[in-house]
């Protein structure tokens, strides 16, 4: 693989960039692999990458129904933070956040991780107590967060209206090392690195069935024929239910639509991420200048990648109250993604009832920020057959035991 650098660009510029090679190969599937990952989104590609990097397992195929990075990886609001309440969540999200810090260098692909800071506003006394709880938990978890005053909120984000008539800002939980990244680049960077390790990324190949013998997985039936494997990882987010069904088990997962929107680009006016959970809205400004805005989820099962307008309306009401200057900006585009919500709204990284078959799903509305940590933990699980400490609590049997990992308890915090 040719390394990317400013010198490489200069060299290529002289020949009008006609000498760049493919970022990833486009191979035909082999008969069998040591491991197959179904799903070439961020989580699937990261799983493959760490299988190779951390465990030396490189005879790997990543099978994708559509195009790599074409699902939720490329349709989220790119927020990266790890100020979670519960220990197991904080551990995996903090792992992810720290991996994001060096990802551009690790992958030799600029994923534009921008640790500009994430601020979660407290607008009720109940929310203040919830975030204070998170701040205390984070202190013990080794996650750097801080509960800050309204004055500091205003200093960090001057366009924020802290004196609204209904929900004045009472403080905020501030994670200075949180931020944003370039979502597509994360998938592309991992894909390039996986391909460089000799892994096969097989796009436009749909899994139609899972073949097993004696309760152990043997491979997958696909639109490109049967592909054998010793280990199978299912990392297909919203479509987990379908693939799990092929593997013969059922998941505590429902698929619903989550929406987001961007405004037209304007000159920089906000250089942090702000989340306002009481009024349900969050916003940041992309490097292009667009205000990137997250909306709510619909409460019904939905696979259409489009949601209902009233969520957009409610979100914008909340954000115009919070940021009055955005009223005259224009919505450029709105879209939806299919998110997989589990019974406790926390992810599953788990063995399954089928031998050598593993699942990683249920990231709901919080998947992007977890990608490297999720891949790290899933690779560990697949390589060793048993979960490591990062994945230990996220098994799929916790529901039977009532052992929830409930993040909503702090202050109804969305991901």
């Amino acid at each position: 693989m040719k390394r990317y650098s400013v010198f490489a660009i200069a060299r290529e510029a002289l020949r009008y960039h006609t000498g760049w090679e493919r970022a990833w190969r486009s191979p035909e599937p082999k008969k069998e692999y040591d491991a197959i990952i179904v799903g070439a989104g961020g989580h699937g590609l990261a799983t493959a990458y760490y299988l190779g990097k951390n465990h030396g397992i490189r005879n790997v195929a990543i099978i994708e129904k559509g195009w790599l990075g074409g699902g939720n990886t490329g349709r989220n609001t790119t927020i990266i933070r790890s100020n979670y309440l519960q220990d197991s969540s904080a551990a995996i999200y903090e792992k992810a956040r720290s991996l994001y810090e060096t990802m551009s260098q690790d992958l030799n692909y600029n994923v534009m991780f921008s640790p500009r800071g994430v601020m979660m506003l407290a607008q009720t006394h109940h929310e203040v107590r919830g975030y204070l709880r998170t701040a205390h938990a984070n202190k013990l978890q080794g996650v750097e967060t801080e509960f800050i005053t309204p004055q500091r909120v205003k200093e960090l984000c001057p366009i924020l209206n802290i004196d609204g008539p209904r929900y004045p800002v009472l403080g905020a939980l501030w994670q200075a090392r949180g931020g944003t990244g370039r979502h597509d680049a994360v998938a592309w960077g991992y894909a390039r690195a996986c391909s460089d390790m000799g892994m096969d990324i097989i796009q436009q190949c749909e899994v139609k069935g899972v073949r097993s013998e004696g309760g152990v997985v043997k491979g997958v039936e696909t639109t490109k024929g049967f592909i054998g494997c010793k280990k199978l990882g299912i990392v297909v987010a919203g479509h987990s239910g379908q693939v799990a069904d092929m593997a013969g088990f059922r998941l505590p997962v429902e698929a619903v639509a989550l929406q987001a929107l961007v405004s037209e680009p304007i000159k920089p006016c906000m250089d942090i991420v702000v989340m306002a959970n009481t009024v349900h809205g969050y916003m940041s400004q992309s490097d292009k200048g667009e205000m990137v805005i997250g909306g709510g989820t619909d409460g019904f099962n939905n696979y259409t990648q489009r949601g209902s307008f009233h969520h957009i309306e409610e979100t914008l009401r909340a954000l115009i109250e919070t940021f009055p200057i955005i009223s005259r900006l224009k919505m450029l585009r709105q879209w939806g993604g299919i998110v997989d919500m589990t019974g406790d709204r926390s992810p599953i990284i788990s063995k399954t009832p089928l031998g050598n078959c593993f699942i990683n799903c249920g990231w709901g509305t919080g998947g992007f920020k977890a990608i490297p940590g999720s891949g790290w933990a899933m690779a560990d699980l697949m390589a060793k057959g048993e979960p490591g400490p990062l994945a230990a609590e996220f098994d799929m049997w916790r529901f039977k035991e009532g052992r929830f990992i409930d993040e909503s308890v702090a202050a109804g915090v969305a991901h």
């Binding site: 990317y4 551990a91 680009p265 920089p268 307008f309 005259r328 900006l329 450029l332």
Partner: protein
């Protein structure tokens, strides 16, 4: 130069001159002008800078597809960034300034990017700025951010307001061109309720500009007559300046009506957002002309051919004195003819086709125009304005044959139907090889709730490109839609437009066909985002093969026009690079809105105080008058405390607590949920709902109850009163009333539907006051009307009666530990009753208290609070509330859940009280640390604080919290963490800090 012609202009009123400014320069225009027309009339072709390379940008189009001509419009509270000049109606006093440059439009240092553009191809930023690591955040990103963005960020609050409205119809017709008008006529005559929307301020679309003749009349006249006929129909509503922004599922359409954009400050709402629910939708949204990809096609003065025609015919503006027309189809000739007929010079028509034929070609020839057939543009020359065009063989590699001096280029690469609304809800497209465009696939329309087609496309939006076919198509589509609605279409003959014989267009995706990479790197696809043909080819070469990859890698089509001009050309280039057919490559997804919609319009009128619904208790006005500091509780606002002059909130809370404990406190408890549960099976039902037994509660008595969800987690609590043999009144938490009522109905309707139970949420029917403190009985006795003595009304009893003439129900319950009465009166009496209590209570020291004093007192008394001691993961057993859980009942909601391993473990964190060794207040949210770290290196914990307050009664910090096996560890000292790293030592004690034996409340 571009200039105003001395005559003509079908849309302008030359008797109404208007003044406006652009970058501070005063200019003149006429009523009816678009800002774009007025700018061109003042020879202002250069209007902005591109996003990435800061190249000079001129006006390209005449409609909403314009990618370049975006301005900052207005100032202060009316500053609107990124306003498209082509859809901005001119008004007197308009102020506009150009964007994305420094220090000025003419001289922009950002253009340096242009000179190194060779080093900045698509996706260059993914390949560099990687080292050293801190540089991305501190150096590279700030520079990129500053040079990106377009319009100015507003600084002020929006000075305008927006309104929203609902509308319903059988058929929504979008587009007021001839196809839309004809469709509306057909549906209107059939009796359908029709709404017809047009985004511009004028009707008729392209036909009047193109000189079509319909039923023997000039198109303009036919349009006027159609509008008149539709206006006369009671079942048809016409709305102009109204852009259908998005189609949502099941026929929900958003439309943005620009009410006062052209009359700012006149008191009317700026926009009106229509939410239309339509039985069926017919899109007659027309088509958008495509640019041609030749080197230098982004230089100001290069415009879409039909737009050039629009400026000449509609506004009597000539974009240039000498205009070269470049085309691959016959429609381009219309522009040449229009220019010639307006007395302007057309030095040449460069036609990529070898053998152009047809009526328009013949007419151009007859007018003596020079036609360069089989030729293409090798290069456009010029900087901030076109100076000449070099022509070459289209089939060649760009060797220049001739150079033609000109100051404008009108290009036509064919037309793409506007399929956005068709596609929003999943309508599929089909590739039309004749016209080289995607059009709606009638076999795969978006579906309605009934599974039938939701959207019908008509006219050029459906690929019926000529006036004659468009009218026939519109008639047929409207009839189909009307039939699908269950109405009988009137027999309708389509009007007949005079047919113009046109020769076939030829798909030309780059010009010339064999252009080398040097030329391709000067062929712009996306003018705003600076994406060139070479960039798309680079993306394909690097494996970004999916159209979504290419879009995201190059930013093609991600600008504010969302690819209206660039997408098809980009797709074609990509398909060519991949050696695939265009339909195989497919399109990116069309998402709402069609053109950008102001956020304020989407948010509507709900702003400030009422941005969410506001619930007020009957006493709310009194609280406001008496200086309450409010806190939001759900949609309610409750007084947190009533600070007096000079008092901090904390001081006010201390005073309120002390006064209540020593004299008399009054609390507005109206927000408390009140649900009546009635019927022969009501007792049985409540026994399932609550963990305890409610069926055995005697009439006249109250009992505290807990509700859990099926997981077993505590979800709500409150006092239940037995009203009569088959009626119970259940109190819920303030935030919980609606949720719990819904929860009850869920079980009654969906699980135990044969049980005879009715429920009613009467929360707002009653005002409720807690009269609390040693003097509570005295004030009630003074009001008089019923016996409130210990004997007549013992603790946990209730009675109906009157007090001071107010009809009331009095509950002897206490959440503070004091002698306490909660008194419910009909809501209409609430304010008067509250005042009467204050008047009568004055001599007993009556003072209002707020929610914080309530919290402090309940914590002193060791009472739990839903939301503090519970968080959705806590079961009643954790709170030592086993006494409120029936052991006898076979079943209640949550019982099975609580039997699961993890919930039945003896190691759970359980409720205890804490007293700090130094008397301080434990920080809110603090955890109890345990030795060591876990497998992930996190500090271990063994509990946490749930309620922590300064107790004015005990004059020290008190707290409740959960601790692993807590009740077994009384007297032990544990350590709470703080955010500074220090710890706070506290002793484990009983959670009841005040009046353990209940002597105060039972008096």
């Amino acid at each position: 130069m571009s200039t105003r012609l001395s005559k003509g202009g079908r849309l302008i009123d030359r008797s109404a001159a208007m003044e406006f400014t652009f970058n501070g320069k005063r200019m003149k225009g006429y009523r009816g002008d678009s800002l774009a027309a007025a700018l061109l009339a003042n020879d202002q072709m250069l209007v902005g800078r591109s996003f990435k390379y800061h190249r000079p940008r001129g006006i390209v189009a005449a409609g909403p597809e314009e990618p370049n001509a975006l301005v900052n419009l207005g100032s202060g509270g009316r500053l609107e960034p990124n306003q498209r000049v082509t859809v901005t109606e001119l008004f007197d006093g308009l102020e506009a300034s150009s964007q994305n440059h420094w220090p000025s439009l003419e001289f922009d240092v950002g253009v340096a990017n242009n000179y190194v553009s060779r080093f900045l191809p698509a996706g260059f930023y993914y390949k560099t700025f990687i080292h050293p690591r801190p540089f991305w955040k501190h150096v590279f990103e700030p520079i990129i951010r500053q040079s990106a963005g377009l319009g100015k960020a507003p600084k002020d609050r929006d000075a305008d307001r927006y309104e929203q409205a609902y509308a319903f119809c059988d058929l929504l017709v979008v587009g007021g061109g001839i196809a839309g008008l004809q469709a509306a006529l057909v549906a209107g005559k059939a009796g359908a309720r029709v709404i017809l929307l047009e985004q511009h301020a004028h009707w008729g679309g392209r036909a009047p500009v193109d000189g079509d003749v319909i039923d023997g009349k000039p198109a303009g006249q036919w349009v006027d007559e159609a509008v008149a006929a539709l206006s006369a129909m009671a079942n048809v509503t016409l709305r102009d300046r109204c852009m259908a922004a998005g189609v949502y599922d099941h026929g929900y359409v958003l439309a943005d009506e620009k009410v006062a954009d052209h009359t700012p400050g006149d008191g009317r709402p700026k926009h009106r957002l229509w939410r239309i629910r339509a039985g069926r939708i017919l899109t007659a949204t027309g088509a958008i002309e495509r640019p041609l990809s030749f080197a230098g096609n982004d230089i100001p003065g290069v415009m879409l051919a039909a737009s050039v025609r629009d400026y000449v015919v509609n506004w009597a503006v000539s974009p240039g004195d000498r205009t070269v027309v470049v085309t691959n189809n016959d429609d381009g000739y219309r522009t040449a003819i229009a220019l010639k007929e307006a007395g302007l010079s057309v030095p040449a028509i460069v036609d990529a086709r070898a053998n152009p034929s047809g009526d328009l070609v013949a007419k151009a020839r007859a007018l003596g125009l020079r036609i360069e057939a089989g030729r293409g543009v090798a290069k456009v020359k010029g900087g901030k304005r076109v100076t000449s065009v070099a022509i070459c063989l289209q089939a060649g590699e760009g060797a220049v044959i001739d150079e033609i001096a000109c100051d404008a280029v009108a290009m036509s690469g064919g037309w793409s139907p506007v399929v956005h609304l068709w596609s929003h809800c999943g309508g599929k497209l089909v590739w039309d090889t004749v016209n080289a465009h995607f059009r709606p696939d009638p076999a795969r329309p978006p579906l309605n709730h009934d599974g039938g087609a939701l959207v019908y496309a008509a006219g050029s939006a459906n690929g019926a490109m000529k006036a004659a076919e468009a009218l026939v198509d519109a008639t047929a589509q409207a009839q189909a839609a009307v039939a699908a609605l269950g109405l009988k279409p009137a027999a309708a003959m389509a009007p007949v437009a005079e047919a113009v014989a046109e020769g076939p267009m030829e798909a030309v995706w780059i010009m010339p066909q064999g252009a080398p990479v040097e030329l391709k790197s000067k062929m712009w696809l996306d003018y705003q985002n600076d994406v060139k043909v070479s960039d798309v080819q680079l993306a394909a070469r690097e494996g970004y093969e999916s159209v979504e990859h290419t879009k995201r890698y190059t930013t093609l089509g991600m600008a504010t026009d969302q690819g209206k001009l660039s997408n098809i050309n980009g797709l074609a280039v990509l398909a060519n690079a991949l050696n695939e057919d265009i339909p195989q490559v497919g399109t990116t997804t069309f998402r709402p809105p069609y053109t950008p919609v102001t956020l304020g319009a989407l948010a509507g009128e709900a702003r400030g105080e009422i941005f969410q619904p506001l619930r007020r208790t009957p006493m709310h006005a009194w609280h406001e008058r008496n200086g309450a500091y409010f806190e939001p509780v759900g949609l309610w606002r409750r007084p947190y405390c009533f600070p007096r002059t000079g008092e901090t909130h904390a001081q006010a809370v201390v005073r309120e607590v002390n006064n209540t404990r020593s004299a008399l406190g009054l609390l507005d408890a109206s927000t408390l949920g009140k649900i009546i549960v009635k019927g022969p099976d009501a007792g049985k039902f409540l026994d399932m709902l609550y963990t305890g037994v409610m069926s055995t509660l005697p009439v006249g008595k109250c009992r505290y109850g807990l509700m859990c969800n099926e997981q077993g987690f505590l979800s709500d609590d409150g006092v239940v009163a037995r009203i009569d043999e088959d009626t119970w009144l259940c109190h819920t938490t303030s935030g919980g009333a609606d949720r719990i009522h819904g929860w009850m109905e869920d079980w009654l309707q969906c699980e135990w539907w044969d049980w005879k139970v009715y429920t009613a949420n009467v929360t707002e029917q009653y005002a409720q006051v807690a009269v609390v403190g040693p003097n509570a009985r005295k004030v009630l006795e003074k009001l008089g009307g019923m016996d409130v003595s210990k004997e007549a009304l013992p603790f946990m009893g209730w009675a109906d009666g009157t007090l001071g003439g107010f009809p009331c129900r009095v509950y002897r319950i206490s959440f503070s530990g004091e002698l306490s009465y909660e008194i419910a009166v009909p809501a209409s009496h609430g304010a008067a009753f509250w005042e009467a209590l204050h008047t009568a209570g004055a001599e007993f020291g009556a003072m209002p208290y707020g929610t914080e004093a309530l919290h402090v007192m309940r914590a002193e008394k060791g009472f739990i609070m839903i939301g503090d001691e519970t968080d959705g993961t806590v079961i009643p057993q954790d709170l030592n509330l086993d006494w409120a859980i029936s052991k006898k009942k076979a079943d209640f909601l949550g019982k099975r859940g609580q039997q699961r391993n993890f919930l039945a473990s003896p190691d759970r964190w359980k409720l205890v009280g804490f007293e700090t060794l130094d008397g301080s207040v434990i920080p809110d949210g603090s955890y109890i640390i345990a030795p060591g770290v876990n497998a992930n290196g996190q500090g271990n914990t063994q509990g946490r604080v749930t309620s922590t307050y300064y107790s004015p009664t005990l004059k020290r910090g008190i707290a409740m919290g959960l601790l692993k096996r807590g009740p077994e560890r009384m007297g032990e000292v544990v350590e709470f963490n703080t955010v500074t790293g220090a710890t706070v030592k506290a002793r484990v004690v009983d959670q009841v800090f005040y009046d353990k034996d209940g002597e105060k409340q039972n008096v």
